[in-house]
């Protein structure tokens, strides 16, 4: 059974590229348009990995991660940030919030797939 990844990004084109790359590698991908939408979808179904942007309307990535980590079912689910943000201060905030990794956009599909495989197999 294919593992499921929740991809959260307010950019439709970015979600399209993420889904295309991960589906080609055999993963199921659920898309969410911002942190709030991601949280709603995460509550309906526990996924194997969460890939989220930082700067989004309604709920940003850090708030989204904190909310997820507050849910029992998401305390051990790997969460990776995929964002244009590359500053050390933001990475530190992400790590403190509960992120397991930081990927700076733009991403290379092969490298993204390699990282996902490394994290969830």
């Amino acid at each position: 059974m294919a593992k499921t990844i929740l991809a959260v990004d307010d950019s439709g084109s970015l979600r399209q590229m993420v889904a295309f790359s991960l589906k080609a590698a055999g993963y199921e991908v659920i898309e969410a348009v911002d942190g709030q939408d991601g949280l709603d979808k995460a509550k309906k179904q526990t996924v194997d990995l969460v890939l989220t942007d930082q700067n989004m309307p309604r709920m940003d990535g850090l708030s989204f991660i904190k909310a997820l980590r507050g849910m029992t079912s998401y305390q051990r689910v790997p969460i990776l940030m995929l964002t244009t943000e590359s500053g050390d201060d933001m990475k530190a905030q992400g790590k403190a919030a509960g992120a397991n990794g930081w990927l700076v956009k733009p991403f290379d599909p092969q490298r993204l797939t390699e990282v996902v495989k490394k994290v969830i197999g």
Partner: protein, 182 residues
């Protein structure tokens, strides 16, 4: 007309002119930027759809070629060449996926520019409001007091703008970014 009246009139005219002229220009720029964002989003949507379709077609083509080759005894160099082409296509597809992410960044940059323009318009609005309080009969002390108030308003708006707009996109090229696992 007394010199103080002339000064008041001139300052009023100056401030109104700066406000109206600047506001018109900024409104046009803001409209253009919003339109550019819509056009870019539409372009990337079409590019993405075309890209996926091409990739799907290539995959089917490759499967067909593989089936044809499995039926006979193709030359080893032909098989190697086809495999190499398939690998090259994969690399091109990956590069295209990386390149196509430009819209995400330009969209964030455009959004930031729109915020800056709104801040500038706000500043021009403050100038216009200040100018409406200048009367032709205002004396020099009145004008100085008014200009001081306007300057304070502008300073406050500048501080607010600087504090509210943080640059989230520092990328200046489309090479893939760093990856760090914690």
């Amino acid at each position: 007309m007394a010199s103080s009246e002339m000064m008041g009139s001139q300052v009023k005219c100056l401030l109104s002119g700066v406000s109206d002229h600047g506001d018109r220009h900024l409104a046009e720029v803001e409209t253009d930027l919003v339109q550019m964002n819509i056009l870019l989003a539409e372009a990337i949507k079409k590019l993405g759809a075309s890209f996926m379709a091409i990739h799907g077609a290539l995959c089917i083509q490759q499967e067909t070629v593989s089936q044809l080759l499995s039926g006979g005894a193709p030359a080893p160099e032909c098989v190697a060449r086809l495999e190499a082409i398939h690998g090259e296509i994969g690399q091109h597809v990956n590069a295209a996926v990386t390149g196509l992410q430009f819209q995400d960044m330009t969209s964030q940059l455009i959004g930031r520019m729109v915020t800056h323009l709104a801040g500038l318009r706000d500043m021009f609005g403050a100038l216009g409001t200040g100018s409406s309080n200048v009367l032709p009969e205002s004396d020099q002390q009145d004008i100085v007091t008014l200009l001081n108030c306007v300057n304070q308003m502008l300073a406050q708006r500048s501080v607010a703008l600087e504090g509210s707009v943080r640059k989230a996109v520092s990328q200046r090229h489309m090479e893939s970014g760093d990856i760090e696992l914690f």
